[in-house]
């Protein structure tokens, strides 16, 4: 792998151990979304992966929505 970026390697790969390991990409109602698992077992939507700009106007996919 060769990275072509003006960033320094230490900016991309810091030495401390990574957090946010409970983050995953799932299919929610036919749309791909990034979610983070909460302590109570529910998921919180972090990011919607879609090319349809109208999807981003849909309240159900706005970041922060809790998915059960």
């Amino acid at each position: 792998m060769i990275l072509y970026t003006p960033l320094a390697e230490t900016d991309i790969f810091p030495h401390e151990a990574g957090e946010n390991v409970n983050r995953e990409c799932i299919n929610y109602n036919g749309k791909q979304v990034f979610v983070e698992k909460n302590k109570d077992g529910s998921y919180q939507l972090l990011q919607l992966l879609s090319t349809d700009p109208q999807d981003f106007l849909d309240d159900n996919y706005s970041p922060g929505t809790i998915i059960n």
Binding site: L3, T5, L7, F13, V21, Q32, T51, G64
Partner: protein
């Protein structure tokens, strides 16, 4: 009647409580309450932001665009007859060379009109992606850093490593030269220029300069990009409509 009314009131109260909790959620996460609804769009938007992630998964604190998510979306856009055009929003600091080139080749080989807008920054491997669209725009404040491909970390110290690196760089240069109006000489001059970046080789090209060098087709933002993509859509659909008449 009264019971119905009570029921309805009960329902609206329930609705209100669920609404207010989702409202609180949204205010906490977004800082706003609602967004306007609009009809379906025939133009889709692909945003390429943060670092371009390739074969190796980057640590989670990096904001990344994963190329394996974008490739199927590009195929879906190509296949869907309701989608007539694509706008690519770029604000990237670069990333994996091969993932970036894969995205650039996919976009350049699409049959539907594509327009890219460089916002903020389109550095390094963001350059081939920006020029891969049918027409590219850059906002006046955006910059593109053009610099040599380099390696950090553990390298096998044989001359072949550097030949490999040079070939990798050649692939980037060839793609940019063949998909934009910049001359190879000029692009290499910018790439290997000294004194422009502090203690580094390369050039930081800002808005209008990118257009002057022929790298980007025009200076503009959302309005110009939407006008251009609609114009390209009309051009591709024009002859077909005449045949029907």
């Amino acid at each position: 009647m009264d019971k119905d009314m009570q029921k309805k009131e009960g329902q609206t109260q329930d609705d209100q409580s669920s609404n207010s909790s989702s409202l609180v959620q949204k205010i906490q996460s977004l800082g706003q309450t609602n967004v306007p609804q609009a009809p379906d769009s025939n133009i889709h938007v692909l945003s390429i932001v943060g670092q371009i992630e390739g074969h190796i998964q980057l640590p989670p604190q990096n904001k990344t665009t994963k190329y394996e998510h974008l490739l199927p979306q590009l195929i879906a856009i190509e296949q869907n007859p309701k989608i007539e055009g694509l706008v690519i929003l770029l604000n990237t600091v670069g990333g994996d060379v091969e993932a970036g080139l894969a995205l650039a080749e996919m976009i350049s080989s699409m049959s539907k009109p594509t327009v890219s807008i460089v916002l903020g920054g389109g550095h390094s491997i963001g350059v081939p992606i920006a020029v891969s669209a049918d027409h590219s725009f850059i906002v006046p404040t955006a910059t593109m850093t053009i610099h040599p491909v380099r390696l950090t970390g553990l390298v096998i110290g044989v001359p072949q490593t550097f030949e490999y690196l040079d070939k990798m760089q050649e692939r980037v240069i060839n793609f940019v030269v063949s998909h934009s109006n910049i001359k190879e000489e000029k692009f290499k001059d910018l790439m290997f220029a000294k004194g422009n970046l502090t203690r580094d080789i390369g050039t930081n090209v800002v808005g209008h300069d990118a257009v002057d060098y022929g790298l980007i087709d025009g200076v503009g933002g959302v309005k110009e990009a939407m006008e251009k993509v609609n114009e390209l859509i009309d051009n591709t659909q024009g002859p077909q409509q005449e045949v029907i008449q």
